[in-house]
């Protein structure tokens, strides 16, 4: 793991800014350090600047301001072909007029490798992605998943230390995507390469990454390992972008250390953990994960404040039941309960009381 004060980052963005039109910044003062062998994911909605960051690292865009370092060496002036970075593109970008073997041979040929050396490496790379029998096919003759594997093999065949992936699984169906996530993760671990991965799919980011950088509006909103990102979002954007969250608007009634009492718009009081609120009377947005909401008193701390709720509907989802509740004047409050044997049956119209552990309710900046 790497913190921002660490000196020998493998990849470092230092105060990087990027503007396309000279009027607005697409990337605003980016500082990011990526350790050797790390799997870092840039996650964010489209237009958040994550792909621009990747393109600057690859050398296809130039930083308007700031420095990008690779292995301690500034690379702003280094052309893309001298950076030695492997890259997997969203549409795979396999050369359609070459066979799979020729596609893999290309990076080795431009490096002037001998024929025998090339053949060994191509074979090794194809075997690595279980595509050894496909060297003579054209990309058009392969399925999406197979093309994805070839693109991966091509990006790895010349042994780059750093591999960039730009939404590589975006075009695959769900099942194949999950399978490929697993394979990419395994390759990362066996080869010990550093991976910078761009995606807008939070599930992908959470399952694969060592750390996730959540981008929005040209800034990193939070940089943390997946579990921390999910459980301890630092602001409202991250809380809403990662996973599902219930939002309750209110003001800080009491603030004491790691506990806060929030008065909701409807007048009810709830417990929360203060995250980025600092004083009494401040407006706040409290976020609570649906699976952390409880309605059985025995599951809650004894002194927890409870809130009145009315069941609107119950959706049967197999492993869980998704209950939509009317809480504090809104119909959008969701509670997920496990579908266990003997689980209490809830029905629409039923009046219940819900509560949660104060640590699960995070009082964040208001939106």
């Amino acid at each position: 793991m790497l913190d921002d004060t660490h000196g020998d980052a493998f990849v470092a963005f230092e105060h990087v800014q990027k503007s396309y039109d000279g009027k607005s910044l697409v990337v605003k003062d980016l500082n990011l350090r990526i350790g050797k062998g790390e799997f870092l994911t840039m996650l964010g909605p489209s237009g958040s600047g994550k792909t621009t960051c990747l393109m600057m690292l690859a050398g296809f865009e130039t930083a308007t301001h700031g420095e990008i370092l690779l292995d301690g060496r500034p690379i702003n002036q280094v052309p893309p072909h001298k950076r030695g970075i492997g890259m997997v593109f969203q549409n795979y970008a396999l050369f359609p007029h070459m066979t799979v073997g020729e596609n893999l041979s290309f990076p080795l040929e431009v490096r002037g490798m001998s024929k025998s050396e090339r053949e060994t490496r191509i074979k090794r790379a194809l075997d690595m992605v279980q595509m050894g029998a496909f060297a003579n096919r054209r990309p058009a003759q392969l399925s999406g998943g197979q093309q994805q594997r070839i693109a991966l093999a091509r990006a790895l065949v010349f042994d780059p230390k750093l591999v960039l992936m730009d939404e590589p699984l975006g075009a695959l169906d769900k099942q194949l995507r999950e399978h490929m996530q697993f394979e990419i993760k395994q390759l990362h671990e066996t080869l010990g390469i550093t991976v910078v991965y761009v995606t807008h799919d939070q599930g992908e980011a959470l399952t694969m990454s060592d750390r996730v950088a959540v981008f929005n509006d040209g800034r990193i909103q939070q940089l943390a390992p997946p579990a921390e990102l999910y459980e301890r979002p630092e602001n409202s954007f991250v809380a809403q972008f990662i996973g599902e969250n219930n939002k309750l608007q209110g003001t800080i009634e009491e603030l004491s250390g790691d506990k806060a009492l929030v008065r909701l718009g409807s007048g009810e009081l709830i417990d929360a953990t203060p995250v980025n609120v600092t004083q009494k009377g401040q407006p706040t947005l409290v976020s609570i994960r649906p699976e952390r909401v409880e309605f059985k008193p025995e599951m809650m701390p004894a002194d927890a404040h409870l809130v009145d709720a009315t069941v609107r509907d119950v959706i049967y989802m197999g492993d869980i039941l998704r209950v939509r509740l009317h809480v504090a004047g809104s119909d959008e409050f969701v509670m997920k309960i496990r579908n266990t044997l003997g689980q209490t049956k809830l029905s629409p119209g039923q009046e219940i009381k819900v509560g949660w552990h104060p640590a699960d309710a995070r009082a964040l900046d208001p939106v």
């Binding site: 893309p80 890259m87 593109f89 970008a93 050369f95 359609p96 290309f106 990076p107």
Partner: protein
């Protein structure tokens, strides 16, 4: 695999189908016939819709071209109007000296032809092979009409002793058969001597070979220059933002919307010796006033004007192909370690080949048959084979010769087309 298309898979689900034998419908009719019947109505309707165009093309294009091509090897101008002499030629082998029977046939045919006023046609036909003989036929015809007495040999030689020339008799023998290869022979600078052997024409008269060679060479050169000029423009068009590329596209298409004559005339204004370009060069002091460049009424003029006119035909197919090439291919090549030149040469350029092939084929075929521009700005050294065809159509009225030249040109283009199909594959062609 698509199982629905696999007959063996389908048999299993067809209750009435025999295990071997053809597939049948539920009531036992052969499936293929039922399919044809169910589609027949739609096909008939579709046919009625295209019928007007089919008739139009047949009447105005296919039939005239067929007739034109027929002229290149079939000319009955002599044989129809000189039946007796044609008969005599058919009965006596080549090398037989004309006897009195031949002279009798000649005199009677001339008389009949003169009375039917077709003697001009006969003379014209022989004139193709032996220049200057049309007047021999017409003047002799006039005198024969007034009456001629046997012996005919003496009588005709009395009228004009040219009638005794073996070359004339050889030409008449050739013309007595309406089916002839003579026009094709002439198109490749060959002729038949008095013994009927195929020989080269005298060097001073060898014009078609040179013209064909020049036509193909200039067309090749024009194709190359349109490629060199058009490729970067097409690339720019394909990569610029939409608004700017639309503007540029209008500039590329502008020549298309301007009259061919206006364009050619403006080249005259620019290129002539007292023209704009020469004036500028003199003004800049690059050349002296007495050394003004000759850039028009020669091959240079033809090349410049035709390159300009044919440029859009190269740019448009290239553009349509380049627009579909995803920029990530070049990026991928660069990230894999290729310099920008290598990425262009090995990744970008090969993907533009379908457009390049289409553009080159289009420009070349158009250039090979181009007529107006070389006629206006080509001078004598910039004339192409099409100008010669036009000359035979309008000046010498030797349509058979024009047809033979045109057929050779058509044949050459078809061979090129076939070669292209063999080398590149015609299904790789992308016109837009």
């Amino acid at each position: 695999m698509a199982n629905a298309l696999d007959p063996h898979a389908a048999i299993a689900t067809t209750a009435s189908g025999a295990p071997d034998g053809p597939l049948r419908t539920a009531d036992g009719k052969p499936l293929a016939r039922a399919l044809a019947r169910s589609q027949a109505r739609a096909k008939r309707r579709a046919f009625w819709l295209v019928l007007p165009l089919l008739a139009f093309i047949l009447l105005t294009f296919a039939i005239p071209i067929g007739q034109m091509l027929q002229r290149s090897f079939y000319n009955a101008g002599f044989s129809d109007n000189m039946p007796q002499l044609s008969q005599w030629f058919a009965e006596n082998p080549r090398g037989t000296d004309p006897d009195e029977a031949a002279w009798t046939a000649l005199a009677q045919d001339l008389q009949a032809s003169a009375e039917a006023r077709t003697i001009g046609t006969v003379g014209t036909r022989i004139n193709y092979d032996v220049p200057g003989t049309r007047s021999l036929f017409t003047s002799t015809g006039r005198q024969v009409r007034r009456g001629v007495e046997p012996p005919y040999q003496a009588a005709l030689l009395e009228i004009d002793e040219k009638w005794g020339e073996p070359r004339l008799w050889s030409a008449m023998r050739e013309a007595s058969n309406p089916v002839t290869t003579n026009f094709y022979l002439a198109s490749v600078d060959r002729t038949r001597n008095d013994q009927g052997e195929i020989v080269k024409v005298p060097e001073r008269q060898q014009i078609y070979g040179t013209l064909f060679a020049r036509t193909f060479w200039l067309s090749l050169l024009i194709t190359a220059t349109t490629f060199i000029l058009g490729f970067p423009i097409a690339h720019l068009l394909a990569t610029l933002p939409m608004r700017k590329s639309n503007l540029l596209m209008i500039l590329v298409l502008l020549p298309f919307w301007t009259s061919l004559l206006v364009r050619t005339t403006s080249w005259m204004v620019l290129l002539q010796q007292q023209g704009v370009i020469n004036d500028i060069l003199v003004w800049l002091g690059l050349i002296g006033n007495s050394q003004r460049l000759q850039m028009i009424y020669n091959q240079t003029g033809t090349i410049i004007a035709m390159t300009h006119i044919l440029l859009p035909f190269m740019v448009l197919p290239l553009y349509s192909v380049m627009r579909t090439i995803n920029p990530s291919y070049v990026r991928a090549a660069r990230s894999l370690g290729a310099t920008s030149w290598t990425a262009f040469r090995r990744v970008y350029f090969p993907q533009t080949l379908p457009g390049l092939g289409a553009g080159a084929l289009l420009v070349f075929i158009l250039a090979v048959g181009y007529y107006i521009t070389p006629a206006l700005v080509g001078g004598s050294s910039g004339q192409l084979i099409s100008n010669m065809i036009a000359m035979h159509m309008t000046d010498t009225l030797n349509w058979s010769m024009a047809a033979a030249l045109a057929s050779l040109l058509l044949g050459a283009v078809l061979i090129l087309y076939w070669l292209y199909d063999k080398l590149v594959g015609i299904d790789n062609l992308k016109l837009g």
